[in-house]
Each structure stands twice: as structure tokens, then as C-alpha cells.
């Protein structure tokens, strides 16, 4: 199909484009990018007053398939992502069976082809995510894995982690760390501090994350592996990563919209939509994360989109599964909390949500940028539109969002993914 996007403000920091331009797409490929293109055929999209970003890329999602299709499927998760302006996502391997075998990767990639969306699956670091033996990383990479991680189950065995990182670095596979020392977390269900004491809920000290990140960073230095610390939640973690980057250790990091915009005070009503791992922490942590995002210590913004059914979230706070969905609100929250509040410029927003994720994953050209001759993966954004997050509006199978009822400023209004116009909301 052919489209002409007229007079959109194109923001592409990689190619240093920040101007009002026209974009001509023919047969799904970006053919021209300049002022005043006349179109011979195809649909014209009026981009006047809108911004055009490279399609967003999420480094951390749970699409729950195979095994937990009642929460989300590859199809429903991809649709939610496309609605939120994303064109690609890294799926976490904590499925059932876990993504520790090429057949699981094959299945994920095949399913993703049913919608115009890119999935870059992360495989497990150890067999069955059991933290005992290495997964068959070379095979998994051949099958299509872009990263390895045991996600929610941090590899506590330091020797095994050393070997895993050495092996992964040999294959140039990204190692993602959900850094939390489970013993130190002590069975907690929210951040340890004044709020956990006030609410009578067991706390998880921020130290459980900082200790784990510190070890992983030291092992990255030892092994030369590409380490990516996901969903940074604590001030101490930001400090450890900043230090590691100063020492030129190959470490990158992301933070979620909920961690840079919310705090543990929101657990006060025992609402399970504020229960996640890592937990919401204090205002001091939140500010440190914003600072880390601003100064580049935190490279990217990722959602940790973690759908759970309403029935599961009906359980008591201590018993409910942790996690919140985020794909449909990520751009809105980022624009509201970081752009409109002056923390980031629009170019920096594009860096955090598209360019840096593409770089961290080592994706081919065309991702994280708007380049003539590559497939169109783009999002049109209205940065001024105000909208209220409503439970019934989610495309995801689940609606466990911590932003329900919030008014956000900024929204993806059209997504072009894999060269196809997926949605247009204006």
C-alpha cells in the first residue's frame, strides 16, 4: 500500500532530523522524505500539528503465550502494542513451557506474523529458568532469540551467571537482568520503608536490587558480556549503573513509566494494581530515576507490560500476582511526566522509546530511525491531546493498569508497522 504523510513534524535524532516534512511510503517502503511531495497515488494522511516518530520499541513485555493465554496472547499483546505506538517488543521467556527451546521461539515468531508487528523474543538463560544449567543459547539464537534472561528469577549462583555471561558474549547475545536478590527480598510484597510499616505489609528493601545489580555489573566487567539491567527501581541502582558506565563496562538500563512517575504511597488502599516487581519505591528513588533518564544513565524506557486477569488481581495484596500492563499508556505517561514537565525534549523521548532500544538490541537499520529505503515503522503522535485512561478502553486482554483514571497528555494517533497502516485515530 501507498501512503503520503503530509506536513508532520519529523523527529529522528539518529539522522538529526527535526523538521516539518512529507513522507512518501510505497509498497511499505519509505521512498521519500522531504518538503512538498506531490502524490500520484495512495492515501494522504494529514500530519499537520502532529509529530512523526520512528516506531516505538519495547525492551520488556510479557505476552504470556504459550501457557497463560487467559492473561494475554501474542495477538492481543501485539494489538495493544500497536495501539500504543509500538512496532516491536522483546517478549520475556517466563511462559509455560518457558522459552528455553527453539520450538517455543518458532511458535512466537510464527504467531507474531499474524499481525504487522515485530517480536524479538528473549530466551531463558538457564534450562527451565531453574538457575541450574545453561540453556542452549546457540540454538536459541539460531531460532531467533535476541536476548537471554531468566527474568523474574534472578540467577543467584554467581558461577553459573559468570559462565552464562561468557557464553552469551561469545554469541553476542544481550543478557537482561531482572536484578533482585530473592533471599534479601525476604518474601516482601512492596517497597520496604515507612509505607510498608504503615500498611503492615512485608517490605522488599531497595538493597535487594542494588546488591544484585552490583554483582551483575562486576560480572559484566569480568566477562565482557552486554548486560542490560531492566526496570531500574532504586536510587542505588542508578548510582551503580552510572559508576559502571564511567568505568566503560558494557551495561545499559531501562526504567518503566510506573517507576519514573509513581511511588509506594499509592499502595495505601491495598489496590493490587499497584503491586509489581520491582515494587514502586519512594519519591527519592523516583527522582533519581528521572535524573538517570535525563543524564543517560538509564538508556531506555520499557513497559514491563505484565498482564494478569481481573480474577487474579482480586486476591489480597500479599497473594495477588505482581505486575501491571503498560503498552497502551507508556507514550502518554512519558510525554506527560517527562516531556511536558521539562525532563526530556521530544528528541530524547524518541531516543528512550525507539533509538536506544534498537541500539541495545543491535537491530538492523530502519529501526529507531526514519530512513529512506527501509520499511516504514512509524508512529504519528499528538503530543497535546488529553485523554483519560479507562479500564474498558484497553485492547490488551487484561486491564491491570496503575494509571486507570489518570488524565494523560499525548497519544499515539496512528501506527504504521511493517509497512502497513495499522490504526488511525483521527
Amino acid at each position: 500500500m501507498n501512503w503520503l504523510i503530509k506536513k508532520a513534524h519529523v523527529v529522528d535524532p539518529k539522522n538529526k532530523v527535526d523538521a516539518t516534512l512529507d513522507v512518501a511510503i510505497k509498497n511499505g517502503i519509505i521512498r521519500e522524505l522531504r518538503k512538498d511531495i506531490e502524490t500520484p497515488n495512495g492515501e494522504t494522511i494529514d500530519g499537520n500539528g502532529l509529530y512523526l516518530f520512528p516506531g516505538l520499541i519495547d525492551l520488556h513485555v510479557h505476552f504470556r503465550e504459550p501457557g497463560f493465554e487467559q492473561k494475554e496472547s501474542i495477538l492481543s499483546g501485539s494489538r495493544a502494542a500497536l495501539k500504543g505506538g509500538f512496532v516491536a517488543a522483546v517478549t520475556m521467556p517466563n511462559t509455560q513451557p518457558p522459552c528455553d527451546h527453539q520450538s517455543v521461539i518458532d511458535n512466537i515468531i510464527r504467531k507474531a506474523n499474524e499481525v504487522p508487528f515485530y517480536l524479538f523474543p528473549a530466551a531463558t538463560l538457564t534450562k527451565g529458568r531453574e538457575g541450574k544449567e545453561l540453556s542452549e543459547m546457540a540454538d536459541l539464537k539460531k531460532a531467533g532469540a535476541w536476548a537471554v534472561t531468566d527474568d523474574g528469577t534472578w540467577v543467584s549462583d554467581a558461577l553459573l551467571m559468570r559462565r552464562a555471561m561468557e557464553y552469551a558474549s561469545m554469541l553476542d547475545l544481550l543478557v537482561i537482568s531482572h536484578a533482585e536478590d530473592h533471599r534479601l527480598a525476604g518474601g516482601g510484597v512492596m517497597n520496604e520503608g515507612v509505607m510498608s510499616t504503615r500498611l503492615g505489609l512485608k517490605g522488599i528493601p531497595a538493597a535487594s536490587e542494588v546488591v544484585a545489580v552490583s554483582r551483575d555489573v562486576i560480572l559484566a566487567e569480568l566477562t565482557g558480556a552486554r548486560l542490560h539491567v531492566t526496570h531500574v527501581s532504586a536510587k542505588g541502582t542508578v548510582e551503580q549503573i552510572r559508576l559502571a558506565k564511567q568505568k566503560k563496562i558494557s551495561v545499559t538500563a531501562d526504567a518503566t513509566p510506573h517507576h519514573f512517575s509513581l511511588t509506594d504511597e499509592l499502595c495505601a488502599a491495598y489496590d493490587t494494581n499497584f503491586k509489581m516487581m520491582p515494587p514502586l519505591r519512594t519519591e527519592e528513588d523516583r527522582l533519581a530515576i528521572c535524573e538517570g533518564i535525563k543524564d543517560g544513565t538509564i538508556d531506555a524506557i520499557a513497559t514491563d507490560h505484565a498482564p494478569h486477569t481481573a480474577e487474579e488481581k482480586m486476591a489480597e495484596f500479599q497473594d495477588a500476582p505482581p505486575g501491571v500492563i503498560g503498552l497502551e499508556t507508556a507514550l502518554g505517561v512519558t510525554l506527560t511526566e517527562l516531556y511536558h514537565k521539562g525532563v526530556l525534549s521530544l528528541s530524547q523521548v524518541v531516543n528512550k522509546l525507539s533509538r536506544e532500544p534498537a541500539k541495545i538490541l543491535k537491530l538492523p537499520s530502519g529501526f529507531g530511525e526514519i530512513r529512506v529505503g527501509t520499511e516504514a515503522n512509524l508512529v504519528l503522535v499528538d503530543v497535546h491531546e488529553e485523554w483519560t485512561v479507562k479500564k474498558e478502553d484497553f485492547v490488551s486482554k487484561s486491564n491491570n493498569s496503575c494509571f486507570i483514571g489518570k488524565t494523560l497528555k499525548g497519544k499515539a494517533v496512528a501506527t504504521i508497522s511493517r509497512g502497513t497502516l495499522w490504526q488511525k485515530q483521527f
Binding site: 520496604e192 520503608g193 500498611l199 505489609l201 488502599a269 491495598y270 489480597e316 495484596f317 500479599q318 497473594d319
Partner: protein, 319 residues
Amino acid sequence: MSILWKRKDLVGLKDLEAEEIQLVLDTAKSLQEISLRPVKKVPTLRGRTVANLFFEPSTRTRVSFELAEKRLSADAINFTSAGSSTVKGETLKDTVRNIESLKVDLIVMRHPASGAPHRLAESLPISVVNAGDGINEHPTQALLDMFTIREKKGHLAGIKVAFVGDIVHSRVARSNIWGLTKMGAEVTLCAPKTLLPAQVEALGVRATSNLEEAIHEADVINLLRIQMERQSESYFPSIREYANNYQINRDVLKHAKPDVLIMHPGPVNRGIELSSDVMDSPYSVILDQVTNGLAVRMAVLYLLSGVRNRAAKKASVHS
């Protein structure tokens, strides 16, 4: 009197005003003599049904509530279930809705999850009384503790209360902290550092690991039960070492005021947190606490049913 009480539920002392606590204690005082009559029963809650839902084992709290209900002529039904109902695949809300469908007027609930009664109270039109939720609150226990202190010392303002024991896992301590600080009492918490909650001083209390320092000026020492399994969870090296450092006994009481009160919510581990001789001495008001618990729970049931009365009258006026 009940006209001052406006809450549908009693889920914790955290949200209560000092005047409301005062009202419960005064109401309990006026109801105390019922239990001294030859016929220990008044018709106040006749025709009302109370459901006692215990999702965690309890003897004394359950018996105390049941008796309070009987003294006020309410009909009581009991539902006990080990562990949370979600284990059986039914949500707590559904379990309680089933019971509500039997036209119950008030629910008394103990639950292993902190916050369970708070969420239930929000979603139900009937009154909910928290009989202990996880490690969060046990409001009627704190109210009966305060009632006992007031009875023995005449007032609460300025009274120094030391809590000694497993503070971090104690819902009794948390409710007492909220209640006592609102009533102007001074609270000191004493435990090995491993058994003190994070940043607990932010709640307006003093925390120490030195027993002598904690009890030196105390008017009341309220002891908390030490669970044997905390040793295997590395909270302290041994029961022996705990008792050596934190047991209240005759020797330790030499450092305390001569008229200090010894309290304990029970059940007591004799010879661990409290020596037998002190437990059976005049310092101890542990059995008075049990007696007062009855009056306090009667007061809570009475006040909450008053709110329901007015709501019903209002509804009938408008219908």
C-alpha cells in the same frame, strides 16, 4: 451517645480520630457492668445477625467476640477456614457475599492478609469489624489494651508504654501505636533490631534494642509473643539468647517503676518473654485485659449497629 459514631466499619485505628477512640472506651465502660449482673444479657442487638469469619486460627479473640454478641442478644454464626479462601479457588469477596446473602448485619473477620478487611469494607454495604489482618492491625485488641491502661492509671495522655517482643510481625503493636499516639501516650518499642519494622520512628514512636532503657520510665510494659519459628528464619540466634536479653522477670523489673503494669495479648510463652513469677504477680493485668476485651467488643458492636439503625431509618423515610 452513638450519635457521634459515623463509621460503617472498624478496620483499624490508623484512620480513627482521638474522639472516636474515646467514645469506644467510654461506651465500653458503660457496658462493663452487664457482665456483672446475674442475667448477663441485654436486648440491644436482638434480631441482628453477626457472622464471625475466621480465616486464621484464633481462640481468645473469637470466643470474646462470640460472647460479646451473645451478651447483646445478637444471633451469631461462625465460619472458620484455615488459610485464605482463595486457596480453594473462591475469592474472599465471593465467600463474604455468600454470607451476606443470608442477610447478615455485621461481619467480624480475621484474615491472614494485611488489608483484606479494608478492601472488603469498601465493597460491602454491611459493617465490617477487623479482628486481625495479617501483620497490619488488630484494633479491638489495642482498644482493650488502652481501656485497661485507662482503668488502672486513670488516663492515657502522658502515659509511657513500652512494647517488648516481635514488633515487626505484630498487628497488636501496630494498632496500639496508632491508638496510643493519638491519645497522647508515649510509645517505646523494644526488640532485637531484626524484629523492629523499617523506619518505625516515622510513626512518632521511640525504638530501642536495650531493654533497660525501654522499661526504665515505663508506666506499662506490653509484651508480645515470640514465635518459635522466627529462630529458623534468622531473626535471632536462639530462644535462650532472646530470653536472656528480653525476658521480663523479677531482676529486670528492678529497673522499672514499682507500679508498672505488665500486659500481654496472649497466649503467653511462660519462661520466654515473661517469667512465670511475674506473670502471676500483682504487676500483671493480663486477665483484666481478657475481661475488658469483652466490654470493648460489645461497645464496638453496639456503636456500629447504631450507624446501621440510623441508615435503615433514613432509608425508610425516603422510600
